[in-house]
Amino acid sequence: MAEPVEVTVRQLVASMAPHPGGDVTDGQRLVDDLHFDSLALIELAVALERRFDLAPISDDEAMDVVTVADVVALVSQATG
């Protein structure tokens, strides 16, 4: 893929965040700042799996994801 992972992840998060408008930054928390609810979080996980061709994200991996930077790290690790 042409764009670095973090750029694509930020775009994807921004397009799916229930809180509209504005740039998404690494420090923002998915739930507290961007207002992802439990269903929107599942939508995001599925979108990430599709976009980066990942295996389903396990609960254990998901537990540690709080911020946008954590999402980038999760995807970077999984895509190696």
Partner: protein, 572 residues
């Protein structure tokens, strides 16, 4: 009827089918589910559980959840479903949330999936509770209970809660930090399940399909307990399986013969958005009898788009059953009858409490995906054993076509909030004041939204009291000088912060916190008000509803320091 009658006479050849991750279905018939539940009951009795003690469930799979749920009841315990961690983003806050939930529930024992046992133990320790943690495992895992291979003798004489004993402690979907738990009695639960079975005319051949989580009231009572007590088939998916493949949910009806379901508006909107006509090839929806739509504002456009997509495959608009309910009334309060299509109603002018509604148009919901959304959808009439009245602030009944607060009475009305020090005003005088505004028109209930002390955003309740607590830490602000009002003005959810202080730098922080808590689409206003603007009850509590109306129509004295709807409002 008793809550556990089916355990000793389980119907053979029918039961639960659980969606597997390889696109198949795992079968669990009623006899095997009953055996697993009685094994759980045996273990609970063995550990010395006493009647009336609260057993919390942290069980993800529907079959282990059912074994746990009915096992607790059979042992005479009070059952309390808890939400498991919800995937991405929720992880770090989850242990703390669980600690809080255990305190609110007064958890005595937890039945937990093996992978969550450690989390449950730490949460119990942090809550300062001596909680017994028991694992319930699937067939291939070790655990304290293994379905079909009980380590302790199974119970053969279920002694479930009965009559006015509390059977279920049900969390409402509260804002993250402060959920409330409703104490639902055995007779409430049976009355509401009976009302649902009669409403849907549930028979032995019905098949219920669900993707809702079992810890949620609609997923639990409507989609799980009603069919289990009816001993009819259930097709159960997890929410993430639905999000991954909404087509699979539709295939329950179109290919597997499911006849009944319930979901929030979101579910129908999401399926309609994600699925193209080509993916429905070969499906037949003509057996689909009831699609309950509840839990949030019903959207006309969503219903019509969904019906337009599925219509060519035999789906009928009259399958939609818009409904109104809440955990404080066990689950269902009103719902549309089986036969007619939903009714959409348009009103002229403003909708104000105590004032008549001017209806400008009434239409049947059809199949036009471009339908405009500025319509109210009728949520039917009161279900069996429930009575609905619209009342004013003093609780006096109002006539049809006048806006007021929705009040409920009847056998489904819960005992109150669990563990509360004092009875809550919402349950005073044998009547449930729901805090929702609405009106009755032509025999149907039309729901408008919250009345001043809370509001609902995408299925999540925000309570004014909780928001006041969030503002307590703002620099330069005296907590006793803050009153938050939450409600819906027309279609727009609004939060007003009334501060009895001269304007100061705290205003920006108050606006930022409320903007964050409310989220998108919620209007936030911050006002500096004189002392007389704050109305209080004789016991000193803020009278939020009249103040909310005054703040909304502009008659409240004070200076507006911030309004997110005004140009030039500070960025959030």
């Amino acid at each position: 009827m008793s809550l556990t009658g089916w355990l000793t006479e389980p119907r053979t050849g029918h039961g639960l089918r659980v969606a597997t991750d390889d696109a198949g279905w795992a079968r669990h018939d009623f006899p095997s589910l009953a055996a697993a539940a009685l094994a759980v009951a045996g273990l609970l009795r063995h550990t010395g559980l006493r009647r009336g003690e609260v057993v919390s469930l942290l069980l993800v799979s529907p079959e282990t959840f059912l074994a746990g749920f009915f096992g607790v009841l059979a042992a005479g315990g009070v059952v309390n479903p808890m939400p498991p961690p919800a995937g991405l983003g929720a992880g770090a806050a989850y242990p703390e949330q669980l600690t809080h939930l255990m305190r609110v529930a007064g958890t005595h024992t937890v039945l937990v999936d093996p992978h969550l046992a450690g989390t449950a133990r730490s949460a119990a320790a942090a809550a300062g509770l001596a909680v017994t943690v028991l694992t319930v495992a699937g067939p291939d895992q070790p655990g304290d209970v293994r379905p079909g291979r009980p380590a302790t003798p199974a119970v053969d004489d279920p002694t479930p809660p009965a009559g006015d004993e509390v059977a279920l402690v049900q969390f409402t979907s509260g804002s993250s930090g402060h959920p409330r738990a409703v104490a639902i009695r055995a007779d409430n639960l049976l009355a509401n399940i009976t009302a649902i079975r009669r409403w849907l005319d549930m028979g032995a051949a019905d098949v219920t399909a669900t993707w809702l989580p079992t810890y949620h009231d609609m997923g639990l009572i409507g989609c799980t307990l009603a069919p289990v007590l009816n001993q009819s088939d259930i097709l159960a998916m997890r929410p993430d399986q639905f999000i991954r493949s909404p087509r699979r949910w539709l295939s329950c009806f179109g290919e597997w013969g499911a006849t009944l379901t319930a979901a929030p508006t979101f579910g129908y909107a999401y399926a309609g958005r994600r699925i193209g006509p080509a993916e429905l090839a070969g499906m037949d929806f003509s057996h689909w009898r009831a699609a309950i739509v509840g839990a949030e504002r019903v959207s006309r456009r969503t219903l019509e788009s969904f019906a337009a997509l599925l219509g060519p495959h035999g789906f009928r608009t009259r399958t939609f059953l818009p409904a109104y309910g809440l955990a404080e009334n066990t689950l269902v309060a009103t719902g549309l009858h089986l036969a007619p299509p939903p009714v959409a109603l348009r009103v002229a002018g403003e909708l104000r409490p105590g004032e008549p509604v001017e209806v400008s148009a009434v239409e049947e919901v059809g199949t036009d995906p471009s339908a405009d959304d500025d319509w109210l959808i009728g949520c039917g009439d009161a279900r069996d054993g429930v009575a609905v009245t619209i009342v004013d602030d003093e609780g006096r009944p109002l006539p049809p076509d006048v806006v007021g607060e929705i009040a409920l009475t009847g056998r489904s009305m819960a005992a109150g909030y669990h563990g509360a020090d004092a009875p809550d005003a919402a349950f005073a005088e044998g009547r449930l004041r729901t805090g929702d505004h609405g009106f009755l028109h032509d025999g149907q209930l039309f729901v408008l939204g919250r009345a001043g002390d809370s509001l609902k955003v995408r299925g999540r309740n925000l309570y004014a009291e909780d928001l006041e607590a969030r503002l307590a830490g703002v620099d330069g602000l005296s907590p006793e000088r803050v009153v938050v009002l939450a409600g819906s003005a027309g279609h727009t959810p609004v939060l007003h912060a009334l501060i009895r202080q001269r304007p100061g730098p705290w205003a920006a922080e108050v606006a930022r916190i409320l903007g964050r808590e409310g989220g998108p689409g919620v209007r936030v206003r911050v006002l500096s008000v004189p002392a007389p603007a704050v109305a209080r009850t004789t016991s000193g509590k803020p009278r939020r509803r009249p103040m909310f109306r005054a703040a909304t129509d502009g008659s409240l004295p004070g200076e507006v320091l911030y309004d997110s709807a005004e140009p030039g409002a500070w960025p959030r």
